[in-house]
Symmetry: C2
Subunit: 347 residues, 2 copies
């Protein structure tokens, strides 16, 4: 089966590029003695997670228990969930899953830690726990060093949680001050963090500069995308995931419509909504659900109805999440048809 | 099972509001002698499509053949696809589906019409065809009246297409001039359009003002959403689809994090990313994939970790499309658990 045989729109993964992306960051982490823990939220495909592990990853990260279930079922045991898990239903599910693998979670509040330990202990399960430290993106995470130490002592005391260390997202030069202070305070309190987990795509090749870091979490590196290309930290030539689309309408000489809209690409990142490989001068200036409005006025040769093009999405993680199936290709040959197994498992 | 038993995030559909929304637009269309053809891209759930038909809809619209397959399999026969279908694989699939129901498609170009008729004729199938007329949104559609007449004559001649009329999106006061001129020209050429299909949520209660209109296509009316509320054409009290989310982190007194991010709501429409029913003064100012950053500084009482809230999304069609399951509720009782059967079927 060839790419030309696919109906559109279709999520197409260039396997040579994907493997090169995996190898490149693994080599960097190996060179600097850092563990690489790929975040599978980008691809949600067990076969690709296994490929990352075979290349040398120390484990994976999942953002949701639905993703954890898919990956445990695919035989992957070492999973970090860098997210507060809250609520009885979710914690009972965590307890079941914790007996199937080596799970680590993050917590940023006493209430989260106590509830988790209570439910896990009742079910006879336990997990490792990292404390999430707030970064300058001001998302989740503990904002105060003294509170970090108190929470670490609590985790160390709670029956169903194992103290494993600290976690931050992202880790870059702007953020490391609190990480550094938290690390030192924990060490001085007799709870040196065995794990210091950081990451973030824009900074992935500078993680060796972060003090105390033991592992790097990054997701997008496997495919790269236009957000990274525009940000200057990914390369167009490394972008491995594209949406194969068809020109379905050409109402004027300046405009064509592709069959990939906001339910194929998402509108995230705004216009231009991705990059058309075959027509770099074309601009996708607007998306409806199934229409990509494309300005071709600057193209020396215009695409015509029925022609197929590859679109690199702005944010590959949310684009992949729209598709049930991914097609792995080498050149124009389709060598893998993968269910995007963990997509849509929002809980 | 009660809403409180659901894990989060979860797509929750208020059935009383949904039914009232269905009835309200059906009553308007009945009163004005217009056929209502709901677009199921909003919900993608066969049970809701059947509910729309039982209320009096003349048929449904689907935007993709994947949606058509799901709805044909659910016993719905009269389906309009207001979209150019292009490419051999898609047209062969259309031919198969055309023998299972009464399908109508739109076309806006001679190439699209000829290819379709060729493939359908070879497979012994036929479909009805509407010509899409360009509107002021400048998406797809024929822009020239003389070309509309030529294309209608071609459709009338082609062996596997049945001439059914014209279609436009949206139909409002700004757009109807071309529709009106196209209708008159076709009538004068001996091809009066049996069907004149229009629609568009913002204008749904003014479709009776559009000349020649025979049917109204509208999707979002079944659930309504914040885009419509902000635009002044939907009401907050009619919004029927919400995302049930949990407060998973409260790092400061001003900020909480909900477990519904861009993979639960999408970033479409920008900040504020939806409306929190229980905390109307809270502002979801940023989304990551699984985090909703929420400013609660203006809330007299602040939400706490573990609390659950309902979020009305900005654009309900793309939010529903992220979920595998929808929970239909009356009050706090869950009375239906529906697979979002046609989601992810991008082709």
């Amino acid at each position: 089966m060839r790419v030309n045989d696919l109906d559109t729109p279709a999520l197409v993964i260039d396997l040579d590029r994907t493997e090169a992306n995996i190898q490149r960051l693994q080599a960097y982490c190996d060179q600097h003695g850092l563990g690489l823990r790929p975040h599978i939220k980008t691809h949600k495909i067990p076969a690709l997670a296994h490929q990352q592990l075979r290349a040398g990853a120390v484990g994976i990260a999942c953002q949701k228990l639905g993703e954890v279930e898919v990956m445990l079922n695919a035989g992957i045991a070492d999973i970090l969930i860098p997210y507060n898990l809250v609520g009885q239903a979710k914690l009972e599910r965590l307890a079941r899953l914790a007996r199937q693998g080596r799970l680590t979670v993050s917590v940023d509040h006493e209430v989260v830690a106590r509830d988790m330990s209570r439910v896990l202990a009742a079910e006879g399960a336990r997990v490792g726990a990292l404390i999430e430290i707030a970064s300058t993106i001001e998302r989740a995470g503990v904002v105060d060093v003294a509170e970090v130490v108190r929470l670490a002592q609590l985790i160390d005391d709670l029956p169903a949680l194992d103290w494993r260390g600290i976690l931050m997202y992202p880790t870059n030069a702007d953020n490391i001050s609190l990480l550094d202070r938290a690390y030192r305070a924990l060490r001085d309190a007799g709870l040196p963090p065995p794990v210091v987990s950081g990451g973030g795509s824009p900074f992935m090749l500078r993680q060796a500069e972060v003090p105390w870091l033991t592992e790097v979490r990054v997701g997008t590196y496997i495919f790269e995308d236009m957000t990274g290309v525009k940000g200057g930290y990914f390369s167009l030539d490394h972008c491995a995931a594209t949406l194969l689309c068809t020109v379905v309408s050409a109402p004027t000489a300046e405009r064509v419509i592709l069959d990939g809209g906001s339910k194929t690409l998402t509108t995230e990142g705004g216009a231009p909504h991705g990059h058309i490989v075959e027509y770099p001068d074309a601009i996708i200036y607007k998306l409806n659900e199934e229409h990509a409005y494309t300005d071709v006025s600057r193209c020396p040769v215009k695409p015509t109805i029925g022609e197929r093009v590859h679109v690199i999405p702005n944010h590959v993680c949310v684009a992949v999440n729209l598709h049930n199936v991914a097609y792995g290709v080498r050149g124009d040959e389709i060598v893998a048809v993968w269910p995007v197994a963990a997509r849509g498992l929002v809980q």
